[in-house]
Amino acid sequence: MLNEMIFAGFGGQGVLSMGKLLAYAAMKEGKEISWMPSYGPEMRGGTANCMVNVSENPISSPIVTKYDVVVALNLPSLNKFEPSVKENGILIWESSTIKDPPERKDIKIYPIPAVEKANTELKNVKVMNMLILGALVKINNIVKKESLLVALEETLPERHHKLIPLNEKAIELGMSLV
């Protein structure tokens, strides 16, 4: 079954890397994957996003316009992508920084106060993207948590491996929030 997802937020919120990690994990599970970043000057300062497709069959198009899952980490992204969630699709949004919540009734909406939780419980806001990722896999269990850990292992440069436990905590915390 094909899963078309997009991760959007400010540059620096780590949307590209969370998408990459998820895709890598899925690849490890033997699935077909594609990861497509937004690119170009508009990224600067402004918003960044990446589309991640996961499927049992070859991915027909890396770029899509309707999504099974939208992850929005800032208001511009929420406004931009809320309309493009497929019916009964999933919308995850960062609820501690985004003031006005999404409105659609025909989709599953998950507010995650990732920034606040990362700050308060993990004392590190940087991992809030991992926290969101945890929530996501809990919701649609697209990949196993273990696969994400393997992905971290294999994609993080050696010198950052010390950060893996923190990231794992973040993922678990995220899972616990839904």
Binding site: F10, G45, G46, L75, P76
Partner: protein, 74 residues
């Protein structure tokens, strides 16, 4: 006595680069650590109202022309 001058900063136009802050001779500006504008930036604001001497350094340095400087008349 009231300050020699003061500045207006358009919150949403500020990118939080901090150049105004570091170039203010009297340290009256600072970046809002605990808040971001709608673009996600920790914007600059007047932290100490009384110190401004209307030297315009902040505005001169601001790449985004978001600072207006006012000077006491007379």
């Amino acid at each position: 006595m009231p300050a020699k001058g003061y500045v207006d900063i358009i919150v949403d136009a500020c990118k939080g680069c901090g150049l105004c802050v570091t170039n203010c001779p009297t340290q009256c500006l600072d970046l809002k650590k605990d808040d971001t504008n709608s673009y996600g930036y920790h914007y600059s604001y007047m932290a100490d109202e009384d110190k401004c001497i209307a030297c315009m350094n902040c505005a001169v340095m601001c790449p985004d022309s978001v600072i207006t400087v006012y000077k006491k008349t007379g």
